[in-house]
Symmetry: D2
Subunit: 433 residues, 4 copies
């Protein structure tokens, strides 16, 4: 997390203050559940709540320097502030009951914030895909002109991908909305499944099926992998914008605000820096996946090797995903599309992009496929070497003339026909869940 | 894929022969759909099927050397074998219609084979978890004795994890059970959504919402990530076995077959080599995740950079996952458990593993938590330094005597009480979906 | 390793036959060293060599099925073939003495083969960089035209990078040219440092400083990382070719052989498939780095978790690196460069690529930098929006006229001046070690 | 970078203040070089230095909000503070001339700080390896007792590894001690190689052989890979400590300070948390390697996708490496070794760890290796199953009696003999460069 890339909600979510407040929430939820189970004197949690405890993060850090244990430092500080009742907090619990349950609360909240950003990106993509559903564009494979498509279809592809990301995120979110109040090795030695269920329920969480000292880390690995896949989708979108904005292509470009400078050296520059930045963001989010997977194989009932990893990747990967989605939304909403350039590029190969239709028309006229291929490729290669327009070369080819009428030939070069299904495709993305 | 780690079903699945056969299946399914749409003369597919075409992989490879394009080589070969009707194959289609749809068929099949292996591991873990639900064992955090648990509880943790893996795999499998017959840039320029739906339906696949030249690669990234998480679960299981088998621990060990030799140098060795191997397997499977994520951001309507990656990771990662699951199943089924060593280790700290119960009993008697902590830690540290048994030191401590009766003290040291919820926990894992 | 990507030398290097032959070499080298140390009867190695043992890989695999230990299976087979003298082989050695030393021999050989391919790529880049040292080209940052450079300068950048790769490979190669003949835990319990030094020396290897049962795996991690960096350099080169070949850019393209077909659907296509393939190759090679790093932290004097990883990544990563280098060499040698298109693109922005020179000229005339920036950006943006040519707009600007003569203005638009240092830069790459 | 893991020198190094100060250093160094080349009025740099400019990071950030370009914001601020002379700064330069050169200064400094920490760890390992060069310990492969070694030998292995890390770091450091003052696309369009060489020389840097807009990123990829390998070495060390400290092993443990608490629940706990933390640290450092490799393939003369990645991984990976080394040093220095437990464990298998010597003695007496293996394995397995001590079973075996005298038998069980070369091995690590 560096300020440059941290939306305020994430700065707040991953602050020490929020962390300690959440610990206290968890302790109080557990305390109430224990009261109902008559493990703890009735009214303890209410009395503690009434004290409206204001935790001092610095003081906790100070205590930690001596005891070298963060939860013990926290509890000591709560005792300082809240007096005798505080000794009932954490009763029968182990640090990880608080830490992991608290982590579930925070990570779930981060996931919900990401989901909001994802919704916004989906909204923006929907708008722009609709707007350009019928805007013709050359489709490209290998960076080489292939057949026509529409700009809206390209955006709809990103839309459908982001919707898949949303579905995956919902599943992954539920997987990490899991806490545990099950004691040192998950056996409820001084607790009970009932207490746990009640406390977690109050926090909006499920109980781990079989906890060790901690919640199982495959859940988090699946969650961070899901962020990695979403980030890869952002990267694909951003990569396409970078291509569209190339000087030679100039089909679309990032909005360029008044006062913005593209280069300290070259005043003429308008660069797709948001898109490039998003490619970097994807690399960062992706880099959390492997450590998250390495965190799974904790020893026995747990070791603490995952902790330092999570202190870094949980804030970083969630924040960068949200930042990426937010920036991608602005990118999409503000994207300046140049339909005249789209058309210019579409036409620049003199109709070579219709070669497949011609091939098929020849086949349908009775020519074996590989022979037809030779006829069309020959014209395409001549055109490529400047020996005439692809259309005219074919029109003049006796093999072609023998196979189809002029009208049939012209129909092969009709853009509208080529993209006739694109509206349907875009709608399919809009209708997808 | 190396023979050492390749189950026969995977050798077959990822062979050239199966690949080309699947291509033909796809072409024929598309051909039939096109017949119904009256794009292709009725009866073509049936006539081709009747020819019972025997593809020759070597011949295809030979043709590819000239045309440098695998699908064209394949089609040329089919024409060689099947004659005139073959020219209706691939009509209006692009190579990727065949390749990606075929890839979906194969990868889905791989996923189903993995699911079978996963079921077997789940079965084995269920059996052994039940068997040892009540076998006491010391729970460990940080490799250090913590509180008692049972061996079955430890296994139930792995069981619950593998069941989560199975749930994830089902979702991931459906995500890649998606093909496309939508032409060069996914616009159905010479096809239609209806033809696609029919052809894919016959193959058990869904249509891509918005295809480019290919099916979107976020689907595969999610799939390979899921394999990575499953493999991490195998690694956790294997790591625990390695710990249990350590000479000093000796709580459980891999079965050692007659004739097996542990070391070329040291005849006395019995090594957990299956478990160690599984840790390596997890690294290999995990290593497919990042390239799969890097494959997502293809340029425009597709580039072919993903192809070489998938030629390697699709066979490797699926095969290694299946191999890992299969070997893990044998490991679990054959695991030799030594209950007497489990008990010996449990008792080796003279009851220090019950320190938390003592702490809580002191708190419940009215002592502030931090004071109680000092009393118990003091005895534990003395015992650690050989100044007496933990139990006896506490029994002799006047602060303890002031706080509880001898009976209350003894209850704190009761193993059965400590693990009373373990049966419930194991059952929870067995009942999990 | 799949046949498609495996140069013959690598198929041979990583075959079972070569592996077992290398084991025998190592055993015989050790045997000779032990003869000189009078541990083994004089003449044993010579007698064994005279038998010209022809190992049967299948037989070894068969024996391994019973003993579940590859080196024991190998030794058993050698005894079968060579009789009594064979019992002196492996004397005092542990399997890893053979395996790891043998692995060093093979991996070093793989490194040498890679080095040859790297030399060839360096040679090809040198040729083409020289050829195009003075061919003007627009330099691009962010995919947007920046300032002129030359095509040879771009190639020289790749040349310099590959030379750095060569330097790194030399270091990394020496790091893995290390074996061990030090026994079960590296203590020479039944051996001696002298025997080891002599045996390894005969094999062209150094001794591990402090062996455990194996050679330390940080060496291999550094080696595979080095391959990852080389592959990333190939990716950069390939990515640039893909950009150059885009339909709209068309500055250079991969050679297209007679008979080659670009697409099964579109006869007009010429795709940069080699370059795209190389980007995938880089992902594969890179994917070996993390498992190699995870292999370092073996337990105590070694566990075998690294072994399955190395069985996969050692052949795969070395082969794919070599394949990538070889294919990149062909790519570079055969690259078709279109100087007229290079010039066309250079000129397409009407001189906006000279904006920096104009900015500096204005500054030198006395204008504050930020004011000068405004003047130039204003003209660039007008030109961008089609309100005239950049050059003419500036010529007509009174602020410019006030700052410089017409001649001074024209000098700012001189391509030759802009690229005057490019020859020097290219030479610097050629001269680099 | 989070405070918990950030040594003060790194907090300072990667602060905004240091960044901007370094930018100014670079600008002034370039300015001086340009004065000598008579591009800039003599005395400019001196006059600017005399102004003792105090940069205000907040003000720069504020300006950046408008111009959306960090270097332009910085230059604008310098102009605000320093007046007219400032317009000569950045003359003919592009932002990356400042940014990348400055990055080289900072990253080199980070590398030097890491090298200091590495020296300290090497020192600590040297001390402890010497101290325990002769302390017997059981060597283990697969976590299973193998043959005797010494504790110092184990430490010497880590020592040798860290020394290799130091060698690699030196090379990697030199690779990133490279800047560029070569303009927008590296062509010196408004600069010259001479100016660059002089400015960089003043900053202790070399010039990039062939710069694009930036220094080539393979350099940084190699650097971060090197940190990954060092971190993997820390992980190996930490993993071994975790094993040594296990309750059942108890051969060594992390120092436990007065007042420290091992667990909030269990007062008896002493956990190897530093070592576990270091394993997590290694995962974090390792996670920088792939993004660094992905950063290499920038488009054309550069895109900015690497920038966000480096803003995160450069501070994080260098800081975590330094933190890890520092913590590892304290770990090693404070490690409490229990020679009596080392001996207890060594003896716990009743001499089975000497099985190889017995095997060899039988072979030397004339028995074929595989027969001898059977004799020794038989005794080992009986002893494993509690049917007597390994030593006694062998002493009573007629096949053994036939092969060697009692004295010869006893020599096989001599620990001192087994570890006779360990002093030499430790010395080799100490003598290594």
């Amino acid at each position: 997390m560096i300020p440059r890339y941290t939306p305020p909600a994430f700065a707040d979510l991953w602050s020490s203050a929020t962390k300690y407040t959440t610990w206290l929430e968890v302790e109080l939820a557990a305390c109430e559940a224990m009261e109902r189970a008559e493990r703890v004197p009735a009214g303890t949690a209410d009395r503690l709540r009434d004290k409206n405890i204001q935790l001092d993060a610095d003081r906790i850090d100070e205590i930690e320097k001596t005891v070298k244990h963060d939860v013990i430092a926290f509890l000591t500080h709560v005792e300082e502030l809240a007096g005798d009742d505080a000794r009932w907090l954490h009763f029968g619990m182990t640090s990880s009951d608080v830490l992991d349950t608290s982590f579930a609360v925070l990570l779930t909240r981060a996931s919900d914030l990401i989901a909001e950003k994802l919704d916004e990106l989906i909204e923006a993509l929907t708008e722009r895909a609709k707007e350009h559903a019928g805007t013709p564009m050359i489709g490209r494979s290998h960076g080489i002109h292939a057949e026509p498509t529409t700009f809206g279809t390209a955006l709809a592809g990103h839309l459908a991908e982001m919707k898949r990301g949303r579905q995956r995120l919902r599943v992954a979110r539920d997987e990490i909305a899991v806490g545990k109040i099950a004691g040192a090795v998950g056996t409820y030695a001084h607790l009970s499944p009932g207490i746990e269920a009640e406390a977690l329920g109050a926090l909006g969480l499920q109980a781990e099926t079989v906890a060790t000292q901690v919640v199982a880390r495959d859940r988090h690995a699946a969650f961070f992998s899901t962020l990695g896949v979403i980030a890869a989708g952002i990267e694909r979108l951003a990569t396409n914008v970078r291509h569209w904005q190339r000087t030679e292509v100039a089909e679309a470009e990032e909005s360029f605000t008044k006062g913005q400078k593209g280069s300290s050296a070259m005043p003429h520059k308008r660069n797709p820096i948001a898109s490039e930045n998003l490619c970097g963001v994807a690399r960062i989010v992706r880099s959390a996946v492997i450590p998250a997977l390495e965190n799974v194989a904790l020893w026995h009932e747990r070791d603490i090797s995952h902790s330092s990893v999570e202190r870094m990747i949980a804030p970083d990967a969630t924040t960068m995903t949200a930042y990426g989605l937010q920036r991608a939304t602005r990118l999409v909403s503000g994207l300046v599309v140049y339909p005249e350039n789209l058309m210019r590029n579409l036409e620049m190969t003199g109709g070579r992009c219709f070669s497949e239709g011609l091939l098929l028309a020849l086949v349908q006229s009775g020519k074996p496929r590989q022979e037809a291929y030779v006829v069309v490729q020959r014209a395409a290669m001549k055109a490529f070497h400047g020996e005439g327009s692809f259309h005219d070369l074919l029109a003049a080819d006796p093999e072609v003339a023998a196979a189809m009428t002029t009208e049939e030939l012209e129909r092969c070069f009709d853009i509208e026909h080529a993209v006739r299904h694109c509206g349907h495709i875009v709608q399919r993305a809009i209708d997808a869940p």
